[in-house]
């Protein structure tokens, strides 16, 4: 079980987040002021934190900056009603690891938090074998149980991203941000169309589905067996 520190001064939002965190199996500590959060960080072992920007006694980024100055690398997800890209850049520069503008879906919050908790070591391995899948990133080929999947380069990247996060929900905006490298909310279901094609290629007839669509939330890569 992981322990999450939630720094959020709005009681309603905090309650919803706490319930969602509990449902996802995380233990959560809730603080509503910078001072309280700072204390909690010193006294308890915290695995990750969710930090709001506008707090009664200051900016949540200050807490992150202070922790980073102390050399603590506890992953931090920054929440903000200031939903601009500028704020995002500022948030990431201050040491936040990810940034989620309000309003956000709780699923998105948990998905991103878990992505922070279990950051895969990307870019190092050029070959990934998960269950029946064998991805050769250098050669640009992928096979499932010896059958070549005939993936396009982008599809290979998508599958690689999913396969490194088995069992966890990956949202559309995470895919757009991490696989394509752009942060925006598309008007159309472009990501879903890509995922649809990938799923048809990966999951052949009669084979158990490796990629599952969680309706309204995102996608999960299920490790077989």
């Amino acid at each position: 079980m992981t322990r999450i520190l939630l720094l959020e001064d709005d009681a309603g939002t905090a309650t919803e987040i706490l319930l969602e965190l509990a449902a996802a199996g995380h233990e959560a500590l809730h603080r509503s002021t910078l001072a309280g959060a700072g204390e909690a960080m010193r006294e308890s072992a915290i695995d990750a934190m969710i930090v709001d920007r506008q707090l009664p006694d200051g900016d949540g980024l200050d807490l992150i900056a202070a922790l980073r100055a102390e050399g603590r690398r506890t992953p931090a997800l920054v929440l903000s009603a200031l939903g601009s890209l500028d704020d995002r850049v500022r948030g990431l520069r201050a040491g936040g690891d990810d940034y989620l503008p309000k309003p956000f879906a709780l699923v998105e919050l948990v998905a991103r938090l878990e992505a922070l908790l279990r950051r895969p070591e990307e870019g190092r391995a050029t070959r990934l074998i998960v269950g029946p899948l064998d991805l050769d990133l250098l050669g640009g080929t992928a096979t499932r149980a010896g059958r070549s999947l005939g993936l396009l380069p982008r599809e290979l990247k998508l599958l690689d991203y999913l396969a490194r996060r088995p069992g966890r929900i990956v949202t559309r905006s995470m895919l757009l941000q991490d696989v394509w490298g752009y942060t925006f909310e598309p008007n159309s279901n472009v990501v879903d169309v890509h995922m649809g094609r990938l799923r048809r290629k990966v999951d052949g007839d009669g084979e158990p589905a490796l990629i599952r669509n969680v309706r309204g939330q995102g996608y999960v890569f299920d490790v077989p067996g």
Partner: protein, 456 residues
């Protein structure tokens, strides 16, 4: 009474100030005139008196009384006083009975004398001097001051008299000017009061040949025109937003109500909730898009701009949309014919291009093709997204970039897509334009625009 009325008060203040200025000026003028005239007059007399002294001192003493009488007989205006006294002060000859009590030596004084030859007068004021003769006798010589004083008094009185109409005039003109100024100020005050009350239609009167105040009024009117437009714009946006949100909110409410009434099992409830969530997501999408529009229009994000490789961005956009286009029977052609790097925000530019491609896929005929091209010529860099449809009608071109405008019976979307594209283009100093023929939208970045980075 006038204290209660600011207009009258202004008038009186102006009038009073002008009158005071005039009085001051008159007094200064009179004083200067008086001073000069007096001084000149005195010096002329003193000169004459000194001459007399010299003349009689040079005259032999036995001839003096005769000469003196001769002089007096020539003075037909009886203005001159001349008298010779022996050392003990007794009159030897002349028209003055006795020496005045005070007698300055060498300098002239103004003193009363006792004339002997003016009938009915025992005293007269004269400017005189007493000088000693070589044989011990003393000569009194002087000039009657009556006439000169009379002349000066006349001048003084006429100056004072002239002051009266001057004062009245000053007060009158001051009152008039003051009232005029006060009326003008009052007009602005009344106008601003009405503006504060929320009425932006009022305008200040500007004559056909305006003076500087008229020009100022015209400026104020122009400002009000602009303000009225902006307020109407804001009100329009407010109305738009309310309208845009009301429809989905009504739908949401009806769906939930029906679900509560009709859904019998958890599955049915789940379906209702899912529909409601989708509805809420689209509402949040509208709100987020509006916030982003406002933020983009602030032009504050340029500080975060970095170099963006447009060729790569176009390739990425095509890559992102190709499956979607193919699903709808549309071939997405990517034609990068030049390399271009601009200063900008990659995600925003991607969003703009994605919106254009999205529109082309949505509105272009299927089967067909959508072309995304990147060109560069002397004028600058152009990103063109074209489809095979009829394009945006000329009459609609100015409208499609407005918030919530939906063209050609488009039903999907928030009606904010092109408004966002335009805002992003504006932020980058690019131009969004629509092709005259065919169906294509272009993002044009001219070389003049600051964001362009020279190719290395």
């Amino acid at each position: 009474m006038f204290r209660a009325d600011p207009v009258a008060r202004t008038g009186w203040r102006w009038g009073g100030a002008l009158a005071a200025m005039l009085v001051f000026q008159s007094l200064v003028l009179t004083a200067i005139f008086w001073g000069f005239a007096n001084d000149n007059h005195r010096r002329a007399i003193e000169h004459g008196l000194a001459d007399d002294c010299t003349f009689f001192a040079l005259t032999p003493s036995e001839e003096r009384p005769e000469e003196l009488r001769e002089r007096l007989s020539r003075d037909i205006h009886r203005e001159q006083f001349l008298a010779l006294f022996d050392p003990r002060g007794r009159l030897i000859a002349g028209n003055v009975a006795r020496l005045p009590a005070a007698s300055g030596v060498g300098r002239s004084i103004v003193a009363a004398v006792a004339p002997t030859e003016l009938p009915g007068r025992t005293s007269d004021v004269a400017r005189l001097t007493v000088c000693a003769m070589p044989d011990g006798t003393r000569l009194l010589t002087g000039v009657d001051l009556d006439d000169a004083e009379e002349a000066l008094r006349l001048v003084w009185r006429s100056l004072l008299l002239a002051l009266v109409p001057g004062l009245l005039l000053a007060l009158g003109v001051g009152l008039m000017l003051g009232r005029r100024a006060a009326r003008q100020v009052d007009a602005v005050r009344r106008l601003t009061a009405r503006i504060v009350a929320g009425d932006l239609r009022e305008r200040l009167p500007v004559g056909r040949r305006p003076d500087s105040v008229g020009l100022l009024w015209a400026q104020v009117n122009a400002m009000l025109d602009r303000l009225q437009l902006l307020v109407a714009d804001v009100r329009g946006i407010g109305d738009d937003i309310a309208h845009q949100l009301r429809t989905p909110l009504t739908r949401l409410r009806a769906g939930l109500e029906r679900g509560l009434r009709e859904a019998g099992d958890p599955r049915a409830f789940a379906a209702v909730i899912e529909r409601a969530l989708a509805e809420i997501d689209s509402l949040l999408g509208v709100v987020a898009a509006l916030l982003r529009l406002r933020e983009l229009e602030d032009h504050e994000r340029r500080s975060r701009f970095a170099a963006v490789d447009l060729a790569r961005l176009i390739e990425d956009a095509c890559d992102l949309h190709r499956p979607l286009a193919e699903d709808r029977g549309i071939a997405l052609l990517c034609q990068v014919r030049a390399a271009a790097t601009v200063r900008g925000d990659a995600s925003l530019l991607m969003e703009a291009v994605a919106n254009l491609i999205d529109n082309a896929i949505k509105f272009g005929p299927a089967p067909g093709k959508v072309t995304v091209a990147l060109d560069r010529d002397d004028a600058g860099v152009t990103v063109t997204v074209g489809d095979e449809g009829t394009g945006v009608a000329a009459a609609e071109r100015a409208l499609v970039t407005q918030r919530f405008y939906r063209g050609r019976g488009a039903i999907r979307g928030t009606g904010l897509g092109l408004a966002l594209v335009k805002a992003i283009a504006d932020l980058h100093g690019f131009t969004l334009r629509f092709a005259e023929r065919g169906s294509a939208a272009q993002l044009v970045c001219t070389e003049k625009a600051e964001p362009l980075i020279p190719l290395v």
